[in-house]
Symmetry: D2
Subunit: 120 residues, 4 copies
Protein backbone atom coordinates (compact mmCIF):
# COMPACT_ATOMS: atom_id res chain seq x y z
CA UNK A 1 0.00 0.00 0.00
CA UNK A 2 1.33 3.39 -0.99
CA UNK A 3 1.40 5.41 2.23
CA UNK A 4 1.03 8.64 0.27
CA UNK A 5 -2.36 7.57 -1.10
CA UNK A 6 -5.03 9.30 0.95
CA UNK A 7 -7.94 7.43 -0.62
CA UNK A 8 -9.75 5.45 2.09
CA UNK A 9 -9.73 1.66 1.76
CA UNK A 10 -12.82 -0.50 2.01
CA UNK A 11 -11.77 -1.54 5.51
CA UNK A 12 -11.44 2.09 6.54
CA UNK A 13 -14.84 2.99 5.16
CA UNK A 14 -16.31 -0.05 6.88
CA UNK A 15 -14.81 1.04 10.22
CA UNK A 16 -16.13 4.58 9.74
CA UNK A 17 -19.62 3.16 9.25
CA UNK A 18 -19.27 1.09 12.42
CA UNK A 19 -18.15 4.15 14.34
CA UNK A 20 -21.17 6.14 13.15
CA UNK A 21 -23.46 3.42 14.51
CA UNK A 22 -21.74 3.50 17.90
CA UNK A 23 -21.91 7.25 18.25
CA UNK A 24 -25.55 7.16 17.20
CA UNK A 25 -26.45 4.43 19.66
CA UNK A 26 -24.72 6.09 22.57
CA UNK A 27 -25.88 9.65 22.10
CA UNK A 28 -29.40 8.87 20.96
CA UNK A 29 -30.15 6.79 24.03
CA UNK A 30 -27.88 8.18 26.77
CA UNK A 31 -30.11 9.92 29.28
CA UNK A 32 -33.11 7.62 28.80
CA UNK A 33 -34.89 6.85 32.10
CA UNK A 34 -34.05 3.22 32.91
CA UNK A 35 -34.76 0.72 35.68
CA UNK A 36 -34.91 -3.07 35.80
CA UNK A 37 -38.59 -2.70 34.78
CA UNK A 38 -37.84 -1.32 31.33
CA UNK A 39 -34.34 -2.68 30.65
CA UNK A 40 -35.59 -5.44 28.35
CA UNK A 41 -37.81 -3.24 26.18
CA UNK A 42 -35.07 -0.62 25.94
CA UNK A 43 -32.43 -3.17 24.86
CA UNK A 44 -34.73 -4.40 22.12
CA UNK A 45 -35.63 -0.91 20.91
CA UNK A 46 -31.99 0.19 20.77
CA UNK A 47 -30.98 -2.91 18.80
CA UNK A 48 -33.79 -2.63 16.30
CA UNK A 49 -33.45 1.11 15.75
CA UNK A 50 -29.72 0.96 14.99
CA UNK A 51 -30.21 -2.07 12.74
CA UNK A 52 -32.16 0.26 10.43
CA UNK A 53 -28.96 2.08 9.53
CA UNK A 54 -27.13 1.27 6.30
CA UNK A 55 -24.62 -1.62 6.36
CA UNK A 56 -25.63 -2.67 9.87
CA UNK A 57 -25.79 -6.46 10.16
CA UNK A 58 -26.54 -6.85 13.86
CA UNK A 59 -26.63 -5.05 17.18
CA UNK A 60 -26.62 -6.65 20.64
CA UNK A 61 -27.28 -4.52 23.72
CA UNK A 62 -26.98 -5.89 27.22
CA UNK A 63 -28.21 -3.56 29.97
CA UNK A 64 -26.50 -4.66 33.17
CA UNK A 65 -29.15 -5.05 35.85
CA UNK A 66 -26.71 -5.53 38.69
CA UNK A 67 -25.13 -2.17 37.95
CA UNK A 68 -28.56 -0.59 37.60
CA UNK A 69 -29.59 -2.00 40.97
CA UNK A 70 -26.44 -0.64 42.58
CA UNK A 71 -26.96 2.84 41.11
CA UNK A 72 -30.69 3.36 41.63
CA UNK A 73 -31.83 5.43 44.59
CA UNK A 74 -35.03 7.04 43.32
CA UNK A 75 -36.67 4.25 41.32
CA UNK A 76 -34.71 4.77 38.12
CA UNK A 77 -31.57 6.31 36.69
CA UNK A 78 -30.43 7.66 33.32
CA UNK A 79 -28.84 5.32 30.81
CA UNK A 80 -25.09 5.83 30.35
CA UNK A 81 -22.23 3.67 29.14
CA UNK A 82 -21.61 2.27 32.58
CA UNK A 83 -24.91 0.37 32.42
CA UNK A 84 -24.56 -1.40 29.08
CA UNK A 85 -22.37 -3.60 26.93
CA UNK A 86 -22.83 -3.43 23.17
CA UNK A 87 -21.65 -5.29 20.08
CA UNK A 88 -22.26 -3.94 16.58
CA UNK A 89 -21.44 -5.79 13.35
CA UNK A 90 -21.26 -3.90 10.05
CA UNK A 91 -20.83 -5.29 6.54
CA UNK A 92 -19.55 -2.81 4.01
CA UNK A 93 -18.85 -4.07 0.48
CA UNK A 94 -18.03 -7.55 1.75
CA UNK A 95 -15.79 -6.46 4.64
CA UNK A 96 -17.27 -7.27 8.02
CA UNK A 97 -16.33 -5.20 11.07
CA UNK A 98 -16.98 -6.36 14.63
CA UNK A 99 -17.01 -3.56 17.22
CA UNK A 100 -17.81 -3.45 20.92
CA UNK A 101 -18.30 -1.18 23.91
CA UNK A 102 -17.60 -2.07 27.52
CA UNK A 103 -16.31 -0.27 30.59
CA UNK A 104 -12.55 -0.05 30.86
CA UNK A 105 -10.82 2.01 33.52
CA UNK A 106 -14.05 3.81 34.38
CA UNK A 107 -14.78 4.84 30.82
CA UNK A 108 -17.08 3.24 28.21
CA UNK A 109 -14.49 2.20 25.65
CA UNK A 110 -15.64 1.64 22.05
CA UNK A 111 -13.23 -0.43 19.98
CA UNK A 112 -12.79 -2.32 16.70
CA UNK A 113 -12.39 -6.01 17.50
CA UNK A 114 -11.99 -7.51 14.06
CA UNK A 115 -11.99 -6.56 10.38
CA UNK A 116 -12.90 -9.63 8.33
CA UNK A 117 -11.74 -8.55 4.89
CA UNK A 118 -13.63 -9.58 1.77
CA UNK A 119 -11.70 -12.11 -0.29
CA UNK A 120 -11.06 -10.67 -3.74
CA UNK B 1 -58.45 32.43 44.68
CA UNK B 2 -56.32 35.46 45.45
CA UNK B 3 -54.69 36.44 42.16
CA UNK B 4 -51.81 38.05 43.99
CA UNK B 5 -50.74 34.72 45.52
CA UNK B 6 -47.82 33.38 43.50
CA UNK B 7 -47.68 30.02 45.25
CA UNK B 8 -48.36 27.28 42.71
CA UNK B 9 -51.51 25.20 43.23
CA UNK B 10 -51.56 21.41 43.18
CA UNK B 11 -53.10 21.52 39.70
CA UNK B 12 -50.31 23.77 38.47
CA UNK B 13 -47.62 21.52 39.91
CA UNK B 14 -49.34 18.52 38.38
CA UNK B 15 -49.37 20.19 34.96
CA UNK B 16 -45.70 21.12 35.29
CA UNK B 17 -44.88 17.45 35.96
CA UNK B 18 -46.87 16.42 32.88
CA UNK B 19 -45.02 18.97 30.78
CA UNK B 20 -41.67 17.65 31.95
CA UNK B 21 -42.65 14.15 30.79
CA UNK B 22 -43.66 15.46 27.37
CA UNK B 23 -40.46 17.40 26.83
CA UNK B 24 -38.47 14.37 27.99
CA UNK B 25 -40.29 11.97 25.70
CA UNK B 26 -39.96 14.18 22.66
CA UNK B 27 -36.35 15.24 22.96
CA UNK B 28 -35.00 11.94 24.25
CA UNK B 29 -36.38 9.99 21.31
CA UNK B 30 -36.59 12.51 18.44
CA UNK B 31 -33.97 11.51 15.90
CA UNK B 32 -34.16 7.76 16.58
CA UNK B 33 -33.90 5.70 13.38
CA UNK B 34 -37.39 4.30 12.75
CA UNK B 35 -39.13 2.17 10.12
CA UNK B 36 -42.18 -0.09 10.20
CA UNK B 37 -39.77 -2.87 11.30
CA UNK B 38 -38.96 -1.28 14.66
CA UNK B 39 -42.03 0.88 15.30
CA UNK B 40 -43.56 -1.59 17.80
CA UNK B 41 -40.42 -2.06 19.91
CA UNK B 42 -39.79 1.68 19.92
CA UNK B 43 -43.35 2.48 21.06
CA UNK B 44 -43.00 0.04 23.93
CA UNK B 45 -39.56 1.33 24.98
CA UNK B 46 -40.70 4.96 24.96
CA UNK B 47 -43.78 4.15 27.04
CA UNK B 48 -41.89 2.12 29.62
CA UNK B 49 -38.98 4.54 29.97
CA UNK B 50 -41.19 7.57 30.61
CA UNK B 51 -43.35 5.58 33.05
CA UNK B 52 -40.26 5.40 35.28
CA UNK B 53 -40.53 9.11 35.98
CA UNK B 54 -42.15 10.34 39.20
CA UNK B 55 -45.95 10.79 39.24
CA UNK B 56 -46.33 9.19 35.80
CA UNK B 57 -49.38 6.90 35.72
CA UNK B 58 -49.41 5.88 32.08
CA UNK B 59 -47.95 6.65 28.65
CA UNK B 60 -49.38 5.57 25.29
CA UNK B 61 -47.33 6.05 22.13
CA UNK B 62 -48.73 5.34 18.70
CA UNK B 63 -46.19 5.49 15.86
CA UNK B 64 -48.15 6.12 12.67
CA UNK B 65 -47.06 3.57 10.11
CA UNK B 66 -48.91 5.16 7.22
CA UNK B 67 -46.99 8.40 7.74
CA UNK B 68 -43.74 6.46 8.10
CA UNK B 69 -44.42 4.64 4.83
CA UNK B 70 -45.13 7.92 3.06
CA UNK B 71 -41.92 9.52 4.35
CA UNK B 72 -39.40 6.71 3.92
CA UNK B 73 -37.14 6.79 0.86
CA UNK B 74 -33.98 5.10 2.14
CA UNK B 75 -35.30 2.29 4.34
CA UNK B 76 -35.88 4.35 7.47
CA UNK B 77 -36.33 7.89 8.74
CA UNK B 78 -35.76 9.77 12.00
CA UNK B 79 -38.52 9.89 14.59
CA UNK B 80 -40.20 13.30 14.90
CA UNK B 81 -43.54 14.52 16.15
CA UNK B 82 -45.17 14.07 12.77
CA UNK B 83 -44.88 10.29 13.14
CA UNK B 84 -46.43 9.77 16.53
CA UNK B 85 -49.43 10.45 18.74
CA UNK B 86 -48.91 10.36 22.49
CA UNK B 87 -51.03 10.46 25.65
CA UNK B 88 -49.47 10.90 29.09
CA UNK B 89 -51.38 10.72 32.39
CA UNK B 90 -49.82 12.10 35.56
CA UNK B 91 -51.12 11.85 39.11
CA UNK B 92 -49.73 14.44 41.49
CA UNK B 93 -51.06 14.51 45.04
CA UNK B 94 -54.43 13.17 43.93
CA UNK B 95 -54.86 15.45 40.94
CA UNK B 96 -54.80 13.62 37.64
CA UNK B 97 -53.71 15.39 34.47
CA UNK B 98 -54.38 14.01 30.99
CA UNK B 99 -52.13 15.43 28.26
CA UNK B 100 -51.69 14.63 24.59
CA UNK B 101 -49.63 15.33 21.51
CA UNK B 102 -50.86 15.23 17.92
CA UNK B 103 -50.18 17.16 14.75
CA UNK B 104 -52.13 20.37 14.36
CA UNK B 105 -51.50 22.80 11.54
CA UNK B 106 -48.20 21.09 10.67
CA UNK B 107 -46.84 21.26 14.20
CA UNK B 108 -46.78 18.59 16.95
CA UNK B 109 -49.04 20.28 19.50
CA UNK B 110 -48.74 19.22 23.15
CA UNK B 111 -51.75 20.17 25.25
CA UNK B 112 -53.45 19.64 28.61
CA UNK B 113 -56.74 17.85 27.97
CA UNK B 114 -58.12 17.50 31.50
CA UNK B 115 -57.23 18.24 35.10
CA UNK B 116 -59.21 15.89 37.35
CA UNK B 117 -58.87 17.63 40.67
CA UNK B 118 -58.57 15.67 43.89
CA UNK B 119 -61.67 15.99 46.03
CA UNK B 120 -60.72 17.41 49.42
CA UNK C 1 -63.37 27.27 41.61
CA UNK C 2 -65.57 24.25 40.99
CA UNK C 3 -63.39 21.22 41.74
CA UNK C 4 -65.45 19.10 39.35
CA UNK C 5 -64.44 21.25 36.37
CA UNK C 6 -61.66 19.44 34.52
CA UNK C 7 -60.91 22.33 32.15
CA UNK C 8 -57.31 23.47 32.72
CA UNK C 9 -56.82 27.02 34.01
CA UNK C 10 -54.46 29.52 32.45
CA UNK C 11 -52.02 28.91 35.33
CA UNK C 12 -52.12 25.17 34.71
CA UNK C 13 -51.50 25.59 30.99
CA UNK C 14 -48.66 27.98 31.76
CA UNK C 15 -47.06 25.43 34.11
CA UNK C 16 -47.44 22.68 31.50
CA UNK C 17 -45.57 24.88 29.01
CA UNK C 18 -42.80 25.47 31.53
CA UNK C 19 -42.52 21.75 32.18
CA UNK C 20 -42.18 21.02 28.47
CA UNK C 21 -39.26 23.45 28.29
CA UNK C 22 -37.53 21.75 31.22
CA UNK C 23 -37.92 18.25 29.83
CA UNK C 24 -36.70 19.50 26.45
CA UNK C 25 -33.66 21.21 27.90
CA UNK C 26 -32.64 18.27 30.02
CA UNK C 27 -33.09 15.46 27.53
CA UNK C 28 -31.87 17.33 24.47
CA UNK C 29 -28.55 18.21 26.08
CA UNK C 30 -27.92 15.45 28.65
CA UNK C 31 -25.01 13.39 27.39
CA UNK C 32 -23.24 16.27 25.62
CA UNK C 33 -19.44 16.08 26.03
CA UNK C 34 -18.52 18.90 28.43
CA UNK C 35 -15.39 20.26 30.10
CA UNK C 36 -14.42 23.67 31.45
CA UNK C 37 -13.25 24.46 27.89
CA UNK C 38 -16.72 24.37 26.37
CA UNK C 39 -18.94 25.13 29.37
CA UNK C 40 -19.52 28.75 28.33
CA UNK C 41 -20.48 28.03 24.72
CA UNK C 42 -22.74 25.19 25.82
CA UNK C 43 -24.56 27.36 28.38
CA UNK C 44 -25.21 29.97 25.73
CA UNK C 45 -26.40 27.44 23.13
CA UNK C 46 -28.78 25.76 25.57
CA UNK C 47 -30.27 29.10 26.63
CA UNK C 48 -30.78 30.36 23.09
CA UNK C 49 -32.18 27.12 21.72
CA UNK C 50 -34.84 26.78 24.43
CA UNK C 51 -35.75 30.46 24.11
CA UNK C 52 -36.99 29.62 20.60
CA UNK C 53 -39.87 27.64 22.07
CA UNK C 54 -43.33 29.23 22.34
CA UNK C 55 -44.11 31.32 25.45
CA UNK C 56 -40.50 31.15 26.68
CA UNK C 57 -39.40 34.50 28.09
CA UNK C 58 -35.94 33.62 29.37
CA UNK C 59 -33.59 30.76 30.16
CA UNK C 60 -30.50 30.90 32.38
CA UNK C 61 -28.10 27.96 32.48
CA UNK C 62 -25.17 27.81 34.88
CA UNK C 63 -22.76 24.94 34.30
CA UNK C 64 -20.93 24.37 37.57
CA UNK C 65 -17.22 24.26 36.84
CA UNK C 66 -16.22 23.13 40.29
CA UNK C 67 -18.39 20.05 39.96
CA UNK C 68 -17.07 19.45 36.45
CA UNK C 69 -13.51 19.67 37.72
CA UNK C 70 -14.26 17.20 40.49
CA UNK C 71 -15.85 14.72 38.09
CA UNK C 72 -13.46 14.81 35.14
CA UNK C 73 -10.87 12.05 34.83
CA UNK C 74 -10.40 11.74 31.07
CA UNK C 75 -10.51 15.35 29.88
CA UNK C 76 -14.29 15.67 29.75
CA UNK C 77 -17.50 14.18 31.02
CA UNK C 78 -21.13 13.98 29.86
CA UNK C 79 -23.56 16.72 30.85
CA UNK C 80 -26.13 15.66 33.45
CA UNK C 81 -28.27 17.48 35.97
CA UNK C 82 -25.58 17.33 38.61
CA UNK C 83 -23.46 19.79 36.61
CA UNK C 84 -25.97 22.56 35.99
CA UNK C 85 -28.47 24.91 37.56
CA UNK C 86 -31.25 26.27 35.38
CA UNK C 87 -34.02 28.87 35.59
CA UNK C 88 -36.76 29.09 32.97
CA UNK C 89 -39.43 31.80 32.82
CA UNK C 90 -42.56 31.28 30.71
CA UNK C 91 -45.32 33.78 29.95
CA UNK C 92 -48.59 32.22 28.86
CA UNK C 93 -51.54 34.53 28.26
CA UNK C 94 -50.28 37.03 30.80
CA UNK C 95 -49.45 34.52 33.54
CA UNK C 96 -45.73 34.28 34.24
CA UNK C 97 -44.25 31.08 35.64
CA UNK C 98 -40.78 30.90 37.20
CA UNK C 99 -39.27 27.41 37.34
CA UNK C 100 -35.88 26.09 38.37
CA UNK C 101 -33.67 23.02 38.52
CA UNK C 102 -30.99 22.33 41.11
CA UNK C 103 -29.64 19.27 42.89
CA UNK C 104 -31.58 18.21 45.95
CA UNK C 105 -30.85 15.01 47.80
CA UNK C 106 -28.71 13.71 44.95
CA UNK C 107 -31.35 14.26 42.31
CA UNK C 108 -31.82 17.17 39.84
CA UNK C 109 -35.12 18.54 41.11
CA UNK C 110 -37.24 20.63 38.75
CA UNK C 111 -39.83 22.79 40.46
CA UNK C 112 -42.31 25.63 40.00
CA UNK C 113 -41.15 28.58 42.09
CA UNK C 114 -43.83 31.15 41.36
CA UNK C 115 -46.95 31.66 39.29
CA UNK C 116 -47.46 35.40 38.74
CA UNK C 117 -51.06 35.45 37.67
CA UNK C 118 -52.40 37.90 35.09
CA UNK C 119 -54.50 40.57 36.68
CA UNK C 120 -58.04 40.09 35.42
CA UNK D 1 -1.11 -6.75 3.83
CA UNK D 2 -2.40 -10.25 4.56
CA UNK D 3 -6.12 -10.17 3.79
CA UNK D 4 -6.74 -12.99 6.23
CA UNK D 5 -5.48 -10.87 9.14
CA UNK D 6 -8.49 -9.53 11.02
CA UNK D 7 -6.48 -7.17 13.21
CA UNK D 8 -7.56 -3.59 12.50
CA UNK D 9 -4.95 -1.26 11.00
CA UNK D 10 -4.18 2.20 12.35
CA UNK D 11 -6.13 3.71 9.46
CA UNK D 12 -9.14 1.58 10.27
CA UNK D 13 -9.05 2.51 13.95
CA UNK D 14 -8.68 6.15 12.98
CA UNK D 15 -11.75 5.93 10.73
CA UNK D 16 -13.74 4.22 13.48
CA UNK D 17 -12.91 7.11 15.82
CA UNK D 18 -14.04 9.61 13.19
CA UNK D 19 -17.30 7.71 12.72
CA UNK D 20 -17.98 7.78 16.46
CA UNK D 21 -17.62 11.57 16.45
CA UNK D 22 -20.06 11.89 13.56
CA UNK D 23 -22.70 9.68 15.13
CA UNK D 24 -22.26 11.57 18.40
CA UNK D 25 -22.59 14.97 16.79
CA UNK D 26 -25.66 14.05 14.80
CA UNK D 27 -27.66 12.24 17.44
CA UNK D 28 -26.71 14.46 20.36
CA UNK D 29 -27.90 17.60 18.62
CA UNK D 30 -30.60 16.44 16.16
CA UNK D 31 -33.90 17.77 17.46
CA UNK D 32 -32.47 20.94 19.03
CA UNK D 33 -34.77 23.96 18.53
CA UNK D 34 -33.02 26.18 15.97
CA UNK D 35 -33.71 29.44 14.15
CA UNK D 36 -31.47 32.09 12.60
CA UNK D 37 -31.38 33.69 16.08
CA UNK D 38 -29.47 30.83 17.70
CA UNK D 39 -27.67 29.26 14.73
CA UNK D 40 -24.33 30.87 15.60
CA UNK D 41 -24.28 29.86 19.26
CA UNK D 42 -25.40 26.34 18.37
CA UNK D 43 -22.65 25.92 15.74
CA UNK D 44 -20.06 26.98 18.29
CA UNK D 45 -21.39 24.72 21.04
CA UNK D 46 -21.52 21.67 18.75
CA UNK D 47 -17.95 22.25 17.57
CA UNK D 48 -16.53 22.74 21.04
CA UNK D 49 -18.37 19.83 22.62
CA UNK D 50 -17.25 17.29 20.01
CA UNK D 51 -13.67 18.61 20.16
CA UNK D 52 -13.59 17.31 23.74
CA UNK D 53 -13.63 13.74 22.47
CA UNK D 54 -10.39 11.75 22.20
CA UNK D 55 -8.31 12.12 18.99
CA UNK D 56 -10.52 14.94 17.70
CA UNK D 57 -8.41 17.67 16.06
CA UNK D 58 -11.11 19.97 14.73
CA UNK D 59 -14.82 20.26 14.02
CA UNK D 60 -16.50 22.79 11.72
CA UNK D 61 -20.28 23.11 11.70
CA UNK D 62 -22.11 25.33 9.26
CA UNK D 63 -25.84 25.75 9.90
CA UNK D 64 -27.42 26.78 6.63
CA UNK D 65 -29.57 29.82 7.25
CA UNK D 66 -31.17 29.84 3.83
CA UNK D 67 -32.50 26.33 4.40
CA UNK D 68 -33.64 27.28 7.91
CA UNK D 69 -35.48 30.28 6.52
CA UNK D 70 -37.19 28.13 3.90
CA UNK D 71 -38.28 25.55 6.47
CA UNK D 72 -39.46 27.74 9.34
CA UNK D 73 -43.19 28.36 9.72
CA UNK D 74 -43.60 28.74 13.48
CA UNK D 75 -40.51 30.73 14.50
CA UNK D 76 -38.11 27.80 14.71
CA UNK D 77 -37.57 24.23 13.60
CA UNK D 78 -35.67 21.18 14.87
CA UNK D 79 -32.07 20.66 13.80
CA UNK D 80 -31.57 17.81 11.34
CA UNK D 81 -28.94 16.93 8.77
CA UNK D 82 -30.66 18.93 6.07
CA UNK D 83 -29.75 22.16 7.89
CA UNK D 84 -26.03 21.68 8.43
CA UNK D 85 -22.73 20.84 6.80
CA UNK D 86 -19.99 19.41 8.99
CA UNK D 87 -16.29 18.57 8.72
CA UNK D 88 -14.49 16.56 11.40
CA UNK D 89 -10.74 15.88 11.48
CA UNK D 90 -9.36 13.10 13.69
CA UNK D 91 -5.73 12.27 14.40
CA UNK D 92 -5.14 8.75 15.66
CA UNK D 93 -1.54 7.62 16.19
CA UNK D 94 -0.27 9.95 13.49
CA UNK D 95 -2.90 9.09 10.89
CA UNK D 96 -5.21 11.98 10.09
CA UNK D 97 -8.72 11.35 8.84
CA UNK D 98 -10.86 14.04 7.20
CA UNK D 99 -14.59 13.33 7.20
CA UNK D 100 -17.63 15.33 6.13
CA UNK D 101 -21.39 15.43 6.09
CA UNK D 102 -23.56 17.12 3.47
CA UNK D 103 -26.89 16.45 1.82
CA UNK D 104 -26.76 14.08 -1.13
CA UNK D 105 -29.88 12.82 -2.85
CA UNK D 106 -32.07 14.00 0.04
CA UNK D 107 -30.05 12.25 2.70
CA UNK D 108 -27.32 13.61 5.03
CA UNK D 109 -24.36 11.59 3.77
CA UNK D 110 -21.38 11.13 6.10
CA UNK D 111 -18.20 10.10 4.31
CA UNK D 112 -14.43 9.66 4.70
CA UNK D 113 -12.74 12.18 2.45
CA UNK D 114 -9.07 11.46 3.12
CA UNK D 115 -6.82 9.25 5.23
CA UNK D 116 -3.44 10.96 5.58
CA UNK D 117 -1.31 8.07 6.74
CA UNK D 118 1.51 8.51 9.21
CA UNK D 119 4.86 8.12 7.54
CA UNK D 120 6.47 5.07 9.10
Amino acid sequence: MDESDATPTVGERACFEAGVKFGTLYHQFAGTPVSPDNARSLERAIEESIENQPHCVGVTVDILEDRLDAAIDHGYTELTGEFMEVEIVVDYEGTEVVTSMAMEDGYPLMRVEEVRRGGD
